[in-house]
Amino acid sequence: MLSDLRFRLRALFQRSAMERELDAELRFHLERETEKYVRTGISREEAERRARIALGGVERIKDDARDARGTQLIDSLAQDLRYAARRLGSTPGFTVATVLTLALGIGANAAVFSIVNGVLLRPLPFPDSERLVAVYTRLGSDFPYFALSGPEFADIGNRVNAFDGIAGYGFAPGTLTRENGEAERVLTMRVTSGFFHVLGVQPARGRAFTDEEAQGSESCLALLAHDASGRGSTAIGSTIRLDDAPCHVIGTMPEGFAFRNDQVKVWTALRINGEETPINRGSHSIAAIARVRAGVSAEQVDAQLQALRAYWSEQYPDHHATEHFAVTRPLHEDFVGDQRDALLLLGGAVVFVLLIVCVNLAALLISNGQARRREFAVRHALGAHRRRLIRQLIAEAMLLAVIGGVIGIVLANMLLAGLLAFYPQRLPVSQPITIDYVAVLYACALVIAAGFLIAFVPALNTTGGRLQETLRADSRTGTASRRAVAARSVLVVSQLALSVILLVGAVLLIRSYQQLQQVDLGIEPDHVLIFGLFIPAGRQPDAAAARRTLAAIEDRLAATPGVVTAGAVSSLPLAAAGPPDMFAIEGRPEPPPGAPAPGARYLMATPRMFAALRIPLKRGRLFVDGDAPGRPFVAVINETAARLYWPGDDPIGRTIRYYPQETSPSIQIVGIVGDVRSMGPREPAPPAIYVPLLQAPRPPYEGRTMTFIVRAPNRPAAVSASARAAVASIDVGLPLANVRPMSEIVSAATGQPRFTTLVMSFFAGVAFFLAALGLYGVLAYSVEQRIREIGVRVALGAGKREILRLIIGNGMGLALMGVGVGVPAALTLTRLMGGTLSGVTSTDPLTYIAVVTMLATSTLLASYLPARRATRVDPIIAMRTE
């Protein structure tokens, strides 16, 4: 076999040398044969003649020898390509148009694929990242992925051997003040000592904190991000101030290191309270990750978690009822799972668009092919196999596809940049998404598929039927063109079906997005400006004084002319999520087994906050100025909390206490307010408790950081100026953070569905347009071919209306077939869309009615021009047409 290959390669690359050799051989042979005859006394001329006869036709021999060399296939392919290039060059308009449409189709696919690859397929930038899992506790089906509690965390660390380490983490905003005095608001992470070990990342310089250091409560140790320490201003061993507390810098992280958020600048130690108390076991607030030990299988992890589950229900039956156990989720999925459905949907849709583009081009090639039938008939008569002719057409289509693909890859960069500019999720900077070699490979695969797809039907159509009849002088193009029309009709039906599928998808998304927009968030976000204020301990050591300052600022803001009202809250809906804080309801025993301990988001607010966000009061009362320090502690809860923890009962007048109960004040519930969907329009409102800022019943929550809400009808710039003035009038030099309109935050919450809907609608629109164009094309072509028939009908008395009905009926028939194929396909495929839809089922009848109507309308429009053309047919001229 090796010799075979070597021979063929030599034949391929040294073709002329081999030809010369054969030539020399044959000449030699002739000479010797001639000598043979001459020696028998025959004249040289006669001898030469006999020798030539004896040898046979030299050209034939050369041909046969060439065949025997086995490079025939490649030789003829090369010939095909040369011919194809010449042909395409001779019709520049057609070539440019098709190449551009293909380039757009392939470029769009490469761009979308790059995003899918970068987000979903590319592994996380940690060593052996498939072994990383996020660890959660499951509290029944309502809370499938809930944070761990301290004792649970400790148990898993101690008892689940399959994990080579478990670590907890949390994010928190803070103020970083460097040695040289410059301060900035940064995002910090609190992590347990095992965090970097689990990830498999080491500090680039210095070291991470140890277990003892983390659990100890002495000084704060910090790790800085690469760019936070750069600039030489902060070195290892120096002291920075984090939220006005001194921290020793013990190391810096490598460049580009990021976990979930690439804006984290400081890492400090997280202290886990693993103390075994019922309250502690029920305080679920730890986000955790773990690394599965090398060599341990998923089944083994499962088995150990099951064992842990059994242990828990045995040891703590009150707390760990049957539905409460630890679960894991692959970390990659944890990071990007919510983007997966949308991205896969777009990835599929863009492939459909390319399909439709290819079918469009195939239809064009069919018409082209009809004109070339004579050429092919001649070649066929001269001995070319049908297969050879088909190969020629495939070569032409492939050449188009390749050129389109090359241009497409260039375009893809631009398209990708455009898509990324609008992409709603923050994508990690350390792993940029680009058109890399994987995307190029994908594009190449698409090019090859496209080439075959485009060529397939036209090739069969052009070279099929009875080719030799084309050569006859009296040939009527009737049958051939009928076959062409039939082929194009099949293609158009498939295009219509594909565009129906895309349209259904797009309309479903649009409706779903509309539903999302209509979801009552529980607040009125319009005409509201938001900003944050933080009074660090360095500025005001007394927390109560800091709170009074913030309250004073709120008063001043509310009194500013032009401002309707203003309020402040510790945590703004939609802007930040936090774990719930557990509390105990006085007069009630500890939570019943299986049910989670009552917990709710703990929010400190000024009395005017509810008016500022227009959160309605449902029962009871809101805070008043009288709810001051020293007066009885009060709180207001939301409807969800009331429903969950006081089912069938009246919470107003009841009291709760936070843990530890002995040292926490008794807080009385005085009112119930409306729910706020603080997690976004797709999530139900979580339970929440609001307490007056000035009372601050829980000392760890000092209320130094508050988000201010200013409701004013003026433009944001003007309101922002008034706000700055108001703040400055109370406390000059206090910086406002993150000034922005509330509507921006609300809009960002629906960023993902909006992006998906927009892109999908664009694809569907393009597809629909192309399909309509295809329909117009086939009808126009059909009318051209049927001119004689129409002429006959008119001559026999058919009126304008009949002709119109004929053509439009043809178009409608095709559309009907397209719908007939497309709708069932859409019904099946959209079932996969479930994850991206909300408020709308995939079989929503309104959607299908809308799509069918759109299709009918565009069919009418597309049929109109050809139909009108048909009515203008003059029967006399028609009869004379070939």
Binding site: L26, F28, H29, A54, L55
Partner: protein
């Protein structure tokens, strides 16, 4: 001179291999030898020799080299490779068994 027989398909390769088993030769010489040795009975179209030689070369059964002929002109000489020798043995055995079997059947009538 008796009528020349047409060569059954596929046997041309066998004859070439056999001819080369006696030593390296160029194309014309192979053609002459087969004619002589078969006492002129076999009619090989001389032209089909060269494609056959290319095929054999591709299959690795013969090797080709340019050399000087007996009248000092350049000619392409072919010689059997080891694989070619093995193939020759195999095909000769097969041929002999086939013809023996056919003989038996023919004698039967």
């Amino acid at each position: 001179m008796p009528d020349r027989l047409d060569l059954p398909q596929g046997t041309l390769d066998l004859l070439i291999l056999k001819s080369l088993s006696l030593g390296a030769q160029h194309g014309w010489a192979i053609s002459e030898r087969i004619q002589q040795v078969s006492r002129d009975t076999l009619q090989i179209p001389q032209g089909s020799l060269y494609p056959a030689l290319h095929r054999l070369e591709r299959r690795g059964l013969v090797r080709a080299e340019w050399g000087a002929s007996d009248n000092n002109r350049k000619a392409k000489y072919y010689e059997l490779t080891r694989a070619g020798r093995r193939q020759l043995e195999a095909e000769t055995t097969a041929w002999e068994r086939l013809t023996a079997a056919v003989q038996l059947v023919l004698r039967m009538a």
